[in-house]
Amino acid sequence: MSDAVVPDRTDSNAPSVRPDGGWFRRAFESDLFYSFRRSRLTMLAAAVTVLFFLLAIFASVLAVQNPFDPAQLQLMNSRISPLWTADGQSPFLLGTDEQGRDVFSAILYGLRISLTVGVLGVVLAGVLGITLGLIAGYVGGAVDSVIMRIADVQLTFPAILIALLVNGVAKSILGNRLDAMSTLVVLVIAIGLSFWVQYARTVRGSVMVEKNKDYVAAAQLIGLPAQKIMLRHVLPNTMGPILVIATINLALAIITEATLSFLGSGMPDTMPSLGTLIRIGNNYLFAGEWWIVAFPGLALAGLILSINLLGDWLRDALNPKLR
């Protein structure tokens, strides 16, 4: 019996990969940027996200008053409805609350707090997760199982519960020393501790994959620092997934902060985030003063929706399986 086999080319349909250029250029020349330009919704979401960040950064320039400074608030300006309604008054575009605080200015400053907590929380979660993931992957053994077991257990608990507990414990330990600034730090820590698991799992998985590759064994054989070489492969490989996780987590972190503040366990009234503003405004809903809660709510929803849209697009664009 003759069993010759026709030479089999499996990669005949694989897309061409240009060998020149860095990974950055390659990525942005090809599919990622293509799908970005193709999706108008994604471009809109990116624009809105950038706009929100700019509004937050330049809050002090754009606001008509500093809503944190009691000296600038006048009670005679309280409960003014938005500018386009019959009782509207300039310069209060979106109306004022019962302390005479301009809702638009409060939103700008609240946005600043929300974004600060969100971004710092995601960064902390990322650093924590990537570090623990690398340790788990490289060291392996008992260390690995302890870290991953903690991750498994934590993953079954919703982030909001963990964040609430961290917050409650901090309150109990710090008591009256808990001012606005330290609350912000506690919130960042609470969010960091709630969201590290996904990063750790991704990085650990990538380390595990690289560990079994031939070049690592080869490097070890000829006495090269295999760990260092692996790191050079692991980190670029995980950049994509980490970016996706970070984007989606930013939305989740902002929601978590807003929820904590709404529940009264987050930012205090003296330094309100969007969640705090919504909690305050909610009390005036029955009195018909809808604008005090509606506009912070809209801002929060718009911000999260835009970030989620970006995250969705990133995930689809970086995951060739879904295309």
Partner: protein, 328 residues
């Protein structure tokens, strides 16, 4: 002359991607007669599997049949409404896929999968269909079928699962079986058994078989006729003896030269230089011309059509010229 079971005429299949429209099948024609086994051979990406899927009407978007016709016992089946082609699938054409490990739904007992298929295509009662399922399992060589009928796919070995897949393909007594690389995923020791089984079933039931493979050994052993495909076209087609012993197309020559034989042990195996072009970069003229040792100017400009040459048909300008000269 009787009507062939399957007749494919100038079939064209395209895939529309966002960059370009790729033509995976470009003007393929062949017939399969009752009881005949046609082997379709070629490299991956030559269009063998796509041809099989086109016949059974399973080309999914972004792919589409863009030209030609497919006749099953004289009846056109391309461009049938979805519901009608569905009735043809499984009933009149049975299909066997490459990987038996993934072809069966893991959550259903194999008996239920067979009964379901039988009852879709016939009026048999539940119990009659079950009896037939057991008979089928016996026919494809599954030991203790009355017990195994209630097993789940994961309880069967690869070879046994492929037998179940075959039982599923023949359960409605189809006129045509399309076997797409039925042995590629199996152990070498099991391959021969499966091939023998397909051949026996074809003979016993008078079923026409289209056997897609890249294994020349399987072709030589099993088939009555063979079609050699290259870049979505048929390079050469003819009786298996002729094509294997006396290949005409330079590509077919290369393929046959790559078969080791017991007789010519001291001869070096021939290798074809280069690789098949991508669908997006098929050269004008004959798609094989960049790799062909005999290519001349005409091959780079004009596409060769299949021309009869004895019992074979070959798409190569070399034989066109020979025909002209002998005519002159």
């Amino acid at each position: 002359m009787t009507v062939p079971v399957l007749s494919v005429r100038d079939l064209k299949v395209e895939f529309v991607t966002r960059r370009a429209t790729l033509r995976a099948i470009d003007g393929v024609s062949f017939d399969i007669a009752k009881g005949e086994v046609l082997g379709v051979v070629g490299e991956s990406g030559a269009g063998k599997s796509v041809t099989g899927l086109a016949v059974i009407g399973l080309i999914d978007p972004p792919g589409r049949i863009s030209g030609g016709e497919i006749l099953l016992s004289g009846m056109r089946i391309d461009h049938l409404p979805a519901e009608e082609i569905r009735r043809v699938r499984g009933k009149r054409i049975g299909m066997i896929f490459q990987d038996p490990l993934t072809s069966l739904n893991p959550l259903y007992r194999i008996g239920d999968q067979i009964v379901e298929t039988i009852r879709t295509h016939t009026n048999l009662s539940e119990s009659a269909a079950r009896k037939r399922a057991i008979d089928l399992l016996a026919e494809v060589g599954i030991p203790a079928p009355e017990k195994r009928v209630d097993g789940y796919p994961h309880e069967f070995s690869g070879g046994m699962r492929q037998r179940v897949v075959i039982a599923l393909a023949i359960c409605a007594e189809p006129e045509l079986i399309i076997a797409d690389e039925p042995t590629t995923a199996l152990d070498v020791s099991v391959q021969a058994q499966i091939i023998a089984l397909i051949k026996r079933l074809g003979r016993d039931h008078g079923t026409a078989v289209m056997l897609v493979t890249h294994d020349m050994g399987v072709i030589a052993e099993t088939c009555d006729r063979v079609a050699v495909m290259y870049s979505g076209r048929i390079a050469e087609i003819g009786p298996v003896q002729d094509v294997v012993r006396n290949p005409l197309h330079p590509y077919a020559k290369g393929l046959m030269g790559a078969i080791p034989t017991l007789a010519g042990e001291d001869k070096r195996l021939v290798q074809i230089p280069g690789s098949m072009p991508r669908l997006s970069a098929i050269p004008p003229g004959c798609p094989f011309n960049p790799r062909c040792a005999f290519a001349f100017d005409r091959c780079r400009v004009e596409r060769p059509e299949p021309l009869p040459n004895g019992a074979q048909a070959v798409a190569c300008h070399l034989y066109d010229r020979a025909a002209e000269e002998s005519a002159a």
